[in-house]
Symmetry: C2
Subunit: 195 residues, 2 copies
DNA sequence: GAGCATATACTCGTGGCCGGATATACGGGA
DNA sequence: TCCCGTATATCCGGCCACGAGTATATGCTC
């Protein structure tokens, strides 16, 4: 039976089990340690559902119940050959084919006309500030990672995100200015609608 | 009881009902007509769930069963004052506060090291081509909208998306080139891991 | 050595999203 | 006039995500 690629958390699970067999809690801990949870949404409930799903599709296999001292039983999973193939194929797809996604800000900005222009201006300025803060934080973080000897390839997703955030910031600034100066095409209508 | 802002489709519903009372099917049709479905994910199942939720929170109210000829019964909903307030407040939040989102490409690119560099290069090139096509399509579309006399404010979300796509394209090009030339920091390790 | 916070490890119930199924009406061509 | 494709309008069942809850073990402090 074919596996339905929904939750990218499943991809992370496959990738981690490719390194070595682990039990779910360990998967979560490892993702935390490597800051992967900033890139792929992680929470326990989903993790166990996802692991079950992968096991049902035989992409991973339940290999043992281990027990250390009197700790709770741990069920360890390992990657199967089919799982390895799925990891490869899914990853290729994620990279080569842009996914149809719906960023919330697009929804918001598409309705900005419902708010009066001066308020829109304020809100956009606030967003720009938040975005800038985020950029600063990422700059600091990447500098630290670099110092620790990690090559760019190891934090390439942060590099990508920074590029995108900078682009968003530039757009926000330019649109905010246009709103302030009244040079947005449609400004006349916008002002008149809010009186 | 407070409403849980999950599905942005609910925001679209509030915005449409602000114009005039409608029944769910009409909401969907209107969204289609205005190309809003490209910005906010729409499908019938979710729509009826969302409308129910809004009604339960009394942000919209069931005003009538109308019937035209022998067509199926239609249940028409209208915006309440609380709904109007919610629309405003939610919209402000969407614009001012960047939402924590998890674009799939970030997940993919973060694992690009699992693929051999030459293949990564190929996949990234394919993505760049797809992104470029998308940009071209948007350029044509916006030109048409402009011709029809629609001001930029009316398709501001397309403007935003084009900016973001261009930024992604530039990043893809630059990273692909670096991969080809072997100038990515970590290239040595990358090549050696795949032999 | 008692007590409390934290770490380990998993489970379960709720609720929301989705796609496909259903049923009727209308319009146009043979 | 009959048929078929499309438009109108809604409903339902399954699946999946989520976060809170549970239970034990370990370590740290006083």
């Amino acid at each position: 039976m074919k596996y339905r690629r929904t939750n990218p958390l499943a991809l992370a699970v496959l990738a981690l089990l490719w390194e070595r067999p682990m039990h779910p809690y360990e998967l979560a801990a490892t993702m935390r340690e490597r800051h992967q949870e900033n890139v792929i949404k992680l929470n326990y409930g989903s993790l166990y559902t996802v692991v079950d799903g992968l096991a049902k599709a035989e992409l991973i296999r339940h290999v043992e119940f281990s027990r250390e001292g009197k700790r709770p039983e741990r069920s360890v999973y390992a990657l199967t050959p089919e799982g390895r193939a799925e990891l490869d194929s899914w990853l290729r797809e994620l990279i080569a084919v842009p996914a149809r996604e719906y960023p919330q800000f697009e929804a918001g900005i598409s309705m900005v006309g419902l708010l009066p222009p001066d308020e829109a201006q304020l809100l956009l300025t606030r967003r720009a500030a938040a975005v800038e803060e985020h950029i600063t934080a990422l700059t600091t973080l990447t500098a630290q990672l670099k110092e620790r000897g990690l090559p760019r390839l190891a934090w390439i997703e942060l590099d990508y995100r920074m590029t995108m955030l900078r682009a968003e910031h530039a757009w926000l600034t330019s649109f905010t200015e246009a709103t302030r100066d009244g040079t947005v095409d449609g400004h006349q209508f916008w002002v008149e609608a809010h009186r």
